[in-house]
């Protein structure tokens, strides 16, 4: 199992071999560089740290630029640890490209930060049914209804679903399929939709069969 960092480009649809149209998301994935390898002896766990997307030299602070210099990699915008690599196969500073990790038809899961929706009511946020439009109701159409009993328990239970901030959290979408890989431009086409805005960062993880 393994993964890579990428940037969501946008959605479109392509035709497969049978001529059927497949809706898919284009992700610019990699090339990523190994900037650090965490080992059991030193860090208590095993992971590979990958860095993605060039950053201007003058935008990097001193501690980070030292970190990149140590790895022998030019400064990057995003870094992320993957615990799913076999660390014995990797060396610091090496380049990782999509075509070496994935092939057409692979099952993957994609995580990213979902689009922020702001403060939303229960109908949108938790798919509540809301109240009745008719039967003498006046202002209950999108109301949550009862939030609990009365004298017992005399409080609202924790975890009661209510209105609040929605979106802008890490979401993982599983069971997606690699439709196509374009190695020259580091693009990968993944069936279906992926969390987040266009140009937002995503992690693509290979799923265990």
């Amino acid at each position: 199992m393994s993964g890579i960092l990428g940037k969501k480009i946008g959605m479109t649809s392509v035709f497969d071999d049978k001529g059927e149209s497949i809706p898919c998301t284009i992700i610019e994935a990699g090339p990523c560089y190994v900037t650090q390898i965490k080992t059991k002896e030193k860090d208590g766990y095993e992971a590979v740290q990958l860095a993605f997307e060039e950053k201007k030299e003058r935008r990097v602070n001193k501690p980070l630029s030292g970190h990149f210099k140590k790895a022998g990699v030019s400064p990057k915008k995003l870094m992320c640890e993957f615990r799913t690599f076999d660390i014995s196969k990797f060396q610091i500073g090496t380049e990782i490209k999509i075509e070496t990790l994935f092939s057409k038809g692979d099952q993957v899961s994609v995580s990213g930060t979902s689009k922020g929706r702001g403060f939303q009511g229960v109908v949108k946020r938790h798919h509540f049914g809301g109240g009745s439009k008719t039967h003498g109701q006046s202002d209950r159409v999108r109301a949550p209804g009862s939030i609990g009993s009365s004298s017992y328990p005399s409080r609202v239970f924790k975890g009661q679903r209510m209105a609040g901030r929605m979106g802008g959290e890490q979401i993982t979408v599983k069971n997606l399929r690699v439709v196509q890989i374009i190695p020259e431009s580091n693009l990968v086409l993944i069936s279906g939709s992926v969390p987040g805005f266009n140009n937002s960062y995503v992690e693509i993880l290979k799923e265990i069969k």
Partner: protein, 114 residues
């Protein structure tokens, strides 16, 4: 958006004939039945073109046995064969949805070249 276009360009057809709403066209559709493949013809008036890029589609309307039939085709689908423009219509709309309410004779008048 350039990278999106780059991906779409790999599958887009370049030799499509020019046609617009109001034109009468004949579309060859490849139908796969089991392991056999045959070509089906669909002839009618284009009542609209939608979208752009690889996802562009067009709608063709015809009267079949007295029943109006509309089919939406993806313009760049590999299942489409030749598209032939039979008659160029002179119309003032990009979307000819109002043809649905007209009789065949009125459709002929509305889409005729004169």
């Amino acid at each position: 958006m350039d990278k999106l276009k780059l991906v779409e360009a790999t599958q887009m057809k370049s030799n499509l004939p020019q046609f617009k709403a109001g034109d009468t066209i004949n579309v060859q559709v490849r139908v796969i039945e089991g392991d056999k493949e045959r070509t089906q013809q669909f002839q009618g008036v284009v009542i609209g073109r939608h979208g752009d890029g690889l996802r562009a589609t067009f709608t063709v309307r015809k009267i079949s046995n007295g029943v109006g039939v509309e089919r939406i085709f993806p313009l760049h689908s590999p299942r489409l064969g030749k598209i032939e423009v039979l008659k160029v219509g002179r119309v003032r709309r990009a979307k000819m949805y109002y043809l649905r309410t007209l009789a065949a004779k009125q459709i002929r008048q509305k889409t005729s070249a004169d």
